[in-house]
């Protein structure tokens, strides 16, 4: 190795040394350890006792586990597409050259910044069946609203509604992506006499497809780990476990029932699920996502 090469090697290792610890201690060790725990009966207060695949087998037969998984998938299946559509729609509107762009953008982005806990308690208040403001509005429109958080069929939709309110981050990313779309493409489309819908389908969407992919993957990762908001708004998944999500059951198993092994098994299944969905998205992406050369 040349002298320059050696200097760069030492310098390189020196610069990344914090990460060597971070990666080793706070990432690789936990990943390996949790895999080990997932094959054990472990309560932290006692030594870990290997039990083979018992945890995984029990999970497959655990009705509450399956319920929490279904609840989470339902939530993700609703909140991701709706959130993306709303974010994109708002971004398109903002990108159309209206005045006051910054003000509107701020207003739509603000909720995404706030502590989830504060939002959760605020919407707990808004969704209140008796005094909640939402139902007052709906009543004025003549709609007889459900009890939201006290009705098992509506607790998840209520949470989806809350997540829509926080779609500001995706919107801002879409906006940036839209602003990057080369204007000449639209001009060419106009020359061909394309309608706005046609322009949307054939110019805009393909051009921002990488951004769409990114937001989609972020959405998957986030919604599958949904925890803080339901922990506050629908503790124990009430009513009737309708709002009991994967991460909540995981937390309960780990820190309420001291079943760390079981919780680790759940964590690993979640990991694999996220990986699978991400790979699926990337595969779909390679077919549909268009990267502008250069």
């Amino acid at each position: 190795m040349t002298r320059l090469g050696r200097r760069q090697l030492w310098a390189g290792l020196a610069f990344i040394s914090p990460w060597l610890i971070g990666l080793g201690v706070f990432m690789l060790y936990p990943v390996v350890a949790s895999l080990y725990y997932s094959f054990c009966d472990y309560s932290v207060l006692e030594r870990a006792h290997p039990v083979g695949v018992a945890n995984y087998r029990d999970l497959l037969h655990d009705q509450l586990y399956l319920k929490s998984l279904l609840n989470t998938l339902f939530y993700a299946a609703l909140s991701i597409p709706l959130g993306l559509m709303l974010a994109l729609a708002l971004a398109l509107l903002l990108n159309s050259g209206v005045r006051g762009l910054t003000v509107y953008r701020t207003i739509f982005f603000l909720p995404a910044l706030m502590p989830m806990v504060a939002l959760a308690v605020l919407w707990l208040w808004i969704f209140n069946g008796e005094y909640g403001v939402l139902n007052v509005f709906l009543a004025r429109l003549g709609i007889h609203a459900p009890g939201w958080l006290t009705d098992p069929s509506w607790s998840k939709p209520a949470l989806v509604l809350l997540s829509l309110w926080g779609m500001g981050q995706a919107m801002v990313i879409f906006l940036a992506g839209l602003q990057d779309v080369p204007v000449h493409l639209y001009e060419a489309a106009d020359l061909d006499g394309a309608s706005w819908w046609s322009k949307l389908r054939h110019v805009t969407l393909p051009m921002i497809s990488p951004v769409l992919l990114f937001n989609g993957i972020m959405g998957i990762i986030g919604s599958l780990q949904f925890f803080a908001v339901p922990y506050i708004m629908t503790p124990n998944g009430q009513p009737a476990r309708s709002a009991y999500f994967y991460a909540m059951y995981l937390y309960d198993n780990a820190f309420r029932y001291l079943r760390m092994g079981y919780a680790s098994a759940m964590a690993w299944i979640l990991f694999l699920l996220i990986l699978a969905l991400t790979l699926l998205s990337l595969r779909l992406a390679s077919r549909y996502v268009h990267y502008e050369a250069g």
Partner: protein, 284 residues
């Protein structure tokens, strides 16, 4: 796509205005509730504007909730949250800048492979790490203290490494090459050339990690047991009585106080925020 016709423009404005009203409303309602006396919170049909502005709700929420809730040291929570934010932000910026420099501006064998591993770790969800980290901190005797909440930030995080590396790559080679020719060590190049040019990216990292720490809930939930050490996110829960029922006016006052600093911060750093988010989205 630009809206050409005046009708289209008006329509867009109308939709945006309506949307803004809908989006703003919950926040305004939060503030309105926080200024009401308790009797006016439970009214149907609801009262939009409080009869009198009860600013003392804020004082009550901060100093002494109610006889039933016991003492809620809200100011303590603010101090604790700020302490953690300072520590996490400085740790994140410093460590990740160093690490990203190592990945971006230096060539050494194994660099790309290690970076690939780094990227891969972004996929690992928090629950996988949660239990072993808890066990680790237990062995270290750090449970119940602030340490698990800020010390890991000083050892890098994949997302920030990725962000800063992308940015560092865009700085022209000639600048650092010239400095090396002048006899600078790598660290000097880092400090005197790269860092000053990276202010926007560093600001984004700082802002994001501030937000993350201010809003963090599950970390404090797991590691903090002494109520006097709680953070704002955790402390907000106290206004919800365990036995049932909530004092909405006080809870909304507390929630407003937790949210307002973020809004103020945002107004001063809007541009950086938006740039930063765009950076993550486009490059990601």
């Amino acid at each position: 796509m630009r809206a050409k016709s005046p009708i289209a423009r008006a329509a867009v404005h109308a939709i945006l205005l309506a949307g803004s009203a809908l989006f703003l409303f919950p926040l305004l309602w939060m503030i309105s509730t926080s200024l009401k006396p308790v009797e006016e919170t439970m009214l149907n049909p609801p009262r939009w504007i409080p009869s009198a502005l009860h600013f003392e709700n804020y004082l009550k929420a901060v100093t002494y909730g109610s006889t039933t809730l016991g003492y809620i040291p809200f100011v303590e929570y603010g101090k604790n949250t700020l302490l953690l934010c300072v520590l996490v932000v400085s740790g994140t910026v410093i460590s990740n800048a160093l690490i990203a420099y190592g990945f971006a501006r230096l060539q050494w064998p194994g660099r790309n492979a290690l970076f690939g591993v780094t990227l891969a770790t972004m996929m690992v969800p928090f629950p996988v790490l949660m239990v072993p980290m808890f066990v680790l901190f237990r062995h270290l005797g750090w449970v119940g203290t602030f340490r698990p909440l800020w010390i890991p930030a000083w050892f890098g995080s994949a997302f920030n490494i990725f962000l800063l590396r992308q940015f560092f790559l865009t700085i022209p080679r000639e600048l650092s090459d010239a400095a090396v020719v002048d006899g600078c060590s790598e660290f000097q190049v880092f400090r005197q050339i790269i860092l000053p040019l990276s202010r926007p990216a560093l600001a984004v990292v700082a802002l994001f990690s501030f937000l993350y720490t201010w809003n963090d809930f599950i970390g404090p939930l797991i590691y903090l047991s002494d109520q006097r050490m709680f953070t704002l996110s955790l402390g907000l829960q106290f206004y919800q009585s365990q036995a049932g029922g909530t004092e909405w006016h006080l809870l909304m006052a507390a929630a407003t106080m937790v949210v307002v600093p973020i809004i103020i911060l945002f107004f001063f750093t809007q541009r950086t925020f938006i740039q930063g988010i765009a950076l993550t989205g486009i490059k990601g």
